[in-house]
């Protein structure tokens, strides 16, 4: 998030796009409701009429995968009507003229045809967002999990810069992170193309700094993403895999392909707290601990570094995950990796990562510190891009609407959207071992529009088979107008009827995120 969670309630307009906020981030949704009570206008753009959409001042029911067209359409109207922020565009950005020309062809009529949103609603949304004193964008995986995920994010950046709604209190672009420490994992470069703190593998000074600190020569060639590693396994590129606290046998697209790949590894090391579907395929399993049995930090969605504190001793012979990695390193004969506690690891991070340089366990204390925090005296950065963007001027990058990778056809006539249920978390390995949560729901379902259910003679509660080009699952039908006719929705938490048996491993070409939000399926009543 460029802003902080608490700022949301001061926004005058909040555009929620591709976020089922009350289900996936309920506490953030309460801030949005508070903003609405204080008079904020809420706009929701989503192919499903989610719970929060029913509280919106304006709900735009887009066709799946047409976000770029929607945003370009809003920009077209905003620029034509002169509602853009001329001063911000002039002082803080570059490339506006190119955007202006590019956006010409996204007329309300054409955008309405692509997206299914009436022209009048596009005009209302454009005016609401552009003219409000402080507007914020809130988005989630409904924006990113597409073959055009990067294009979607770029178009949101264009919208926020053109309207000057960034770099101010309660005004910015705010992705909501789905997992407790996605932000921290990414900050620490558990990604293949940068070093910790987003420092470049191509920068000689950066490489020299890390080589001196770690006493090694570092590889300069960027590595592979998860999806690329999966493909490289089958072809003999990757032969040994170390999986820590991940369950690709439920979380990754096209699970049958994942299973074949993992089974062909020469060495699969899995470190986890439960015997997951991925553990079942391992050659060696290392028992880690839960958040309650160790010290450390999580970085939340608004860049807030917070402390987790050990409350109980590790269960059985399980060891804290930080200690296990050091144990493996020592077994490999690595000379470094001697840490008495996670706070020593954190101090090493602070010494190498400028964004974290001013943070320590002492400073985090009760309320956390938000990065960037470059010196011991620097305060938390509550919102980013105040006077300048990290690269100086913000560059408009016009993007064209592109269709999703796999659209419905005669054989597979429905769009499948996957996502979360309110009571479970990711692959369910933790929440499905919680009585309170399984008491709410413990099996998978498919949401079907009443008109489609009627046509296919599927009744509520009936077992329904969903089939895609990659596999099939049988789940219970829920008849609901939340989904559009022609679309169905399945949550992905349930390993025994995993939605990811169906999903398409087509990737965004830049960041290699799979298109979980759209693939083609057919529905059959199970006799």
């Amino acid at each position: 998030m460029t802003n902080s969670v608490e700022e949301l309630e001061d926004a005058a307009c909040i555009l929620i796009i591709g976020s089922n906020t009350t289900v996936a981030h309920p506490i953030i949704a309460t801030r949005i409701f508070r903003a609405r009570e204080k008079g904020a206008k809420i706009i929701v753009v989503d192919p499903r009429k989610t719970h929060i959409a029913s509280y919106a001042d304006l709900y735009l029911a887009e066709k799946s995968g047409t976000d770029v067209a929607v945003i370009n359409g809003l920009l077209h109207i905003i620029i034509k009507e002169g509602w853009y922020d001329k001063e911000f565009v002039e002082k803080r950005t570059e490339g506006f003229a190119v955007l202006k020309t590019f956006i010409e062809e996204y007329t309300p009529a054409r955008v309405s045809e692509i997206t299914g949103i009436p022209e009048v609603q596009l005009r209302q949304a454009a005016e609401m967002f552009a003219k409000a004193k402080q507007s914020s964008i809130v988005y989630c995986m409904g924006i990113t999990q597409h073959t055009v995920g990067v294009d979607n994010v770029l178009s949101l950046a264009n919208l926020s810069m053109a309207t000057g709604h960034i770099g101010k209190w309660a005004s910015g672009v705010n992705p909501l992170r789905g997992q407790n420490n996605v932000q921290g994992s990414t900050d620490m470069a558990a990604i293949p193309n940068v070093l910790p703190g987003y420092q470049s593998l191509a920068d000689d000074a950066v490489i020299a700094k890390f080589e001196t600190a770690w006493g090694v020569t570092l590889p300069r060639k960027p590595g592979l993403t998860i999806m690329e590693m999966m493909d490289a396994i089958g072809t003999g590129g990757i032969r040994a895999l170390y999986v820590m606290g991940e369950n690709p046998m439920v979380s990754d697209p096209d699970i049958q392909h994942v299973k074949k790949a993992l089974e062909s590894l020469e060495l699969l090391i899995v470190q986890d707290i439960f015997p997951t579907e991925t553990v079942a395929l391992a050659h060696v399993v290392l028992p880690g601990v839960t958040f309650a049995e160790k010290d450390g930090t999580f970085v939340s969605t608004d860049r807030r570094v917070q402390r987790i504190r050990k409350a109980i001793e590790p269960i059985g012979e399980a060891r804290p995950d930080w200690q296990i990695i050091c144990d493996v390193a020592h077994a490999m004969g690595a000379p470094d990796f001697d840490y008495a506690s996670p706070s020593e690891v954190f101090d090493e991070i602070a010494s190498l990562v400028p964004l974290f340089a001013g943070i320590s366990y002492d400073r985090i204390a009760e309320n956390g510190i938000q990065w960037p925090c470059r010196t011991k005296e620097a305060p938390s950065t509550v919102f980013m891009h105040k006077d300048t963007f990290s690269k100086g001027l913000g560059t408009f990058k016009p993007v064209a609407y592109k269709a999703p990778a796999e659209l419905p056809d005669e054989e597979y006539p429905f769009i499948l959207i996957t996502g979360r249920d309110a009571f479970h978390y990711h692959t369910g390995s933790m929440t499905r071992r919680s009585k309170s949560l399984t008491g709410q729901i413990n099996r998978c379902y498919v949401q079907i529009h009443p008109a489609d259910a009627k046509k296919l003679r599927i009744k509520a509660g009936q077992l329904t088979r969903l089939r895609s080009r990659r596999g099939a699952i049988e789940v219970e039908a829920r008849i609901t107008p939340i989904v559009q006719s022609g679309s169905v929705f399945v949550p992905f938490h349930f390993a025994e009827t995993a939605a990811n048996v169906l999903t398409n491993p087509a990737l965004d070409p830049v960041v290699k995120i799979p298109e979980f939000k759209i693939c083609a399926v057919k529905l059959e009543k199970v006799a």
Binding site: P219, Y242, P287, A311, T431
Partner: protein, 136 residues
Amino acid sequence: MIDYRTVYTICPFCGTGCGILLEVMNGRLEGVLPCKTNPVNQGKLCIKGWSAHEFVHSPDRLKKPLVRKDGRLEEVEWDEALSFIASRLKAITQAYGPDSFGAFSSAKCTTEENYLLQKFTRAVIGTNNIDHCARL
């Protein structure tokens, strides 16, 4: 003697970062209380947060290292598991180079643990093949 304590920590589920107080009774987690002074959640929790202690003491927890022997995963001591890993990893990376190794790190683990696993991957093995499920 009854040992009852509350420990201030952060919810392990979504990325919001709500502050919670774990209720600990004689070394076992008994409950969760929302933290009112945490600036993010200000005393509120969702149902997942209220239940965050429940999975920790599940009887399914992995309690010992396992190594596959004759097709079955069998319990072993830590030393055996670690030396098994070291010898296999060395053999594979020596024969096929560092890029034959890959690591999936975890968005559920701590910042420090993610730092250490990428350091292991880059500094000990010598490859940039590391990623986590941010995209999934």
